[in-house]
């Protein structure tokens, strides 16, 4: 285990600032997920932690040791890549054993460690094969094996599941979570997949434009998004965002009116955020059903409420509705998110 401290970590490519003075402290044994869209700086941050990208400014510490200028092979980190990055000329056994061979371990130690890692990942039967004889899921298991066999204090994972199909991704996600629980190492995991972030992370750092937008637990990020970007990035279907003003202690947009539990000052231009699932049957919000998308376990309804406010609702499958139907539903004011329209931050 190791604590990772990024102090004003900066990466620039000429005039382009990829990571902008990032401050982040990752605790011993913590599972930290860097989440964000393409180009937000999450992979660059991971590469700086790995030593694969030179740090333009700032400091990086593992525990109390500064590693800002330490080359990657001396940082004692393991990394799993989106592309698997297996050595094609080596067998699975040789791939997993490679980091140990480089450290000069004895043949018997290597054999024991490789066997244990292979057993843990259920790839013992694949040890004699070469990467081109494996499926995507098997290759990613081998890549995980190569990482865990070293028993490093820090695991870095760069979108390791992005190339797998949906079913395999689910099972691999479970495997990674189990590995974290068993190894008790510090994990830094980069993804753009909110479901992966929510299910795996102890804490999530949502990034955009080289900056951390919000750093919190998955629940905290979801329940109390710090700004409109974070609110919109997490949640499927995405949060409903409606522009309006505050008047008489309520959110107003044309004929659409929602009373608020803690309203900001009168006349303020705001953006209302409503998670699609935060609705209940039989309230006083009237709407016309535009589109019905049954998913089996639940149903998504696109509705048009008063004042031309378009909303997406995630409702139980028992809600029977057809396009054109009128329906009314309730919204708990405590579940609403209010953002300042100008600064886009939470009020």
């Amino acid at each position: 285990m190791a604590r990772i401290t990024c102090a004003a970590l900066t990466k620039s490519y000429g005039a382009v600032l990829a990571v902008d003075a990032l401050d982040l402290s990752i605790g011993h044994g913590e599972f930290m997920v860097l989440l964000g869209p393409s180009g937000c700086g999450k992979t660059t941050t991971l590469n700086m932690i790995a030593g694969l990208e030179e740090i333009s400014a700032g400091r990086l510490l593992f525990d109390e040791t500064e590693v800002t200028w330490t080359p990657p092979h001396k940082r004692e980190v393991a990394m799993v890549f989106q592309s698997y990055a297996l050595y094609p000329n080596k067998t699975v056994r040789e791939n997993i054993a490679f980091p140990l061979r480089l450290r000069g371990q004895s043949a018997s130690e290597i054999e024991r460690a490789v066997g244990a890692a292979a057993e843990q990942l259920e790839i013992t039967h694949l040890l004699g094969r070469r990467p081109n004889e494996l499926s995507g899921g098997q290759r990613q298991r081998v890549a995980l094996g190569r990482a865990i066999v070293r028993k490093p204090s820090v695991f870095l994972m760069d979108e390791p599941l992005s190339n797998l199909d949906a079913t395999l991704r689910l099972s691999m996600r479970g495997l990674i979570k189990r590995l974290h629980q068993e190894l008790k190492a510090t994990f830094v995991y980069v993804t753009h997949d909110q479901a992966e972030a929510m299910t795996l992370a102890d804490r999530i750092a949502v990034m955009k434009g080289g900056l951390i937008q919000q750093l919190d637990t998955p629940e905290g990020i979801y329940e109390r998004p710090g700004n409109i970007f974070v609110a919109g990035f997490l949640g499927s279907p995405p949060i409903n965002l409606v522009e309006g003003v505050i008047a008489d202690g309520a959110f107003i947009r044309g004929d659409f009116r929602l009373p608020l539990s803690k309203p900001p000052e009168e006349g303020r231009a705001v953006v209302l955020g409503l998670r699609p699932e935060d609705v209940s049957a039989g309230g006083d919000v009237a709407a016309r059903v535009e589109l019905v998308s049954p998913l089996g376990s639940e149903t998504h309804l696109d509705v048009l409420a008063e004042g031309g406010v378009a909303l997406t609702l995630r409702v139980p499958k028992e809600w029977r509705a057809a396009p054109g139907d009128r329906l009314s539903f309730g919204i708990d004011p405590a579940r609403l998110h209010i953002f300042d329209k100008a600064s886009e931050t939470r009020l």
């Binding site: 694969l52 092979h73 698997y84 990055a85 094609p88 000329n89 450290r103 494996l134 870095l156």
Partner: protein, 305 residues
């Protein structure tokens, strides 16, 4: 729908025809070289020529291997008749030593060329350092200058270094020719190796030397073999620099010695061709041994395809 038969047959005939013409064009001179080396001078000058030897004889080869034991002087140089294959050019005894020189130079050039080029190409292709692009362009610029323009400057440099008439002179010169080109070839190859493999190697514990040794070299085998062959053949075949930089038989190479046979008072084409056959044996052996390494797809399975 299946293609009509007539166009398919026409296509097959044309393909076979052009392939046959191409093979004749490429292999014809080599076949004639081998065939004529087994004939007497009288036979190979006959009109029409005998494409296949009527009375195959290894007399020319025997002459080559016994040349060292026969002293050819001004007085006895006409001891043999060219037409009966007993004629021996005055420099015949130098053929095998020259072959040894060519072999030594070729092997040194091939090995040193690979050593220098591999490390330089790795640095330029993989390591991000200031001046990387300028280095690449400088290397390439040296290949823009025609060899003939370098003869005099190189002669002066080599002479001032005291290397004239030494094998080292040719090794150094041939490296100057082969290294830039090999670097260029290897850079392209190294850049084609997925970058994540380099990253994985660095994370796994490789410094640059080990990343090169454990990852880049095994995956670049075809390019390495091609570079090795290119460097060997370049030095094996080179004529102009060898002519200028070596002026005694102790350091002269095969092309210089063989060309000397033609410039003699009498030319025995059958003997020259036999020497030619011997001269092509090492490159042919090299091609046969290494051709199985020139394959594609070594990086299959490394990264998500």
């Amino acid at each position: 729908m299946k293609k009509p038969l007539a166009p398919r047959v026409t296509r097959a005939i044309l393909l076979t025809l052009f392939s046959a013409i191409f093979v004749l064009y490429v292999a014809g001179p080599v076949a004639w070289l081998v065939s004529s080396s087994l004939q007497s001078e009288a036979e190979i000058t006959r009109v029409p020529p005998n494409w296949l030897p009527q009375n195959p004889s290894i007399a020319n080869f025997e002459a080559i291997f016994s040349a060292a034991d026969r002293v050819v002087t001004y007085e006895n140089r006409r001891q043999g008749e060219a037409l009966t294959s007993t004629f021996l050019p005055s420099g015949a005894a130098n053929l095998l030593p020259a072959m040894r020189n060519s072999l030594v130079i070729g092997l040194w050039v091939a090995a040193l060329n690979l050593l220098l080029s591999v490390t330089a190409a790795y640095a330029i292709a993989v390591i991000d350092f200031r001046g990387r692009r300028a280095t690449l362009y400088t290397v390439l610029a040296t290949r823009v200058v025609p060899d003939i323009a370098l003869v005099v400057p190189l002669f002066l440099v080599i002479r001032n270094l005291g290397l004239i008439n030494s094998l080292g002179a040719l090794v150094v010169t041939y490296l100057a020719i082969t290294v830039p080109f090999t670097i260029f070839i290897l850079i392209s190859y190294f850049e084609g190796i997925p970058r994540d493999l380099y990253r994985a190697a660095r994370i796994d514990g490789c410094g640059h030397g080990r990343a090169l040794w454990h990852v880049y070299l095994p995956l670049s085998l075809p390019a390495l073999v091609a570079s090795l062959t290119f460097a060997f053949l370049t030095s094996w075949n080179e004529f102009v620099f060898a002519l200028v930089l070596t002026q005694n038989v102790a350091a002269q190479t095969l092309p210089i010695i063989i060309s000397g046979f033609i410039m003699d008072f009498t030319t025995s084409f059958s003997f020259v061709n036999a020497a030619g056959v011997i001269a092509i044996i090492p490159p042919v052996l090299m091609a046969v041994v290494f051709q199985r390494y020139i394959v594609s797809g070594l990086t299959a399975g490394a990264v998500k395809g």
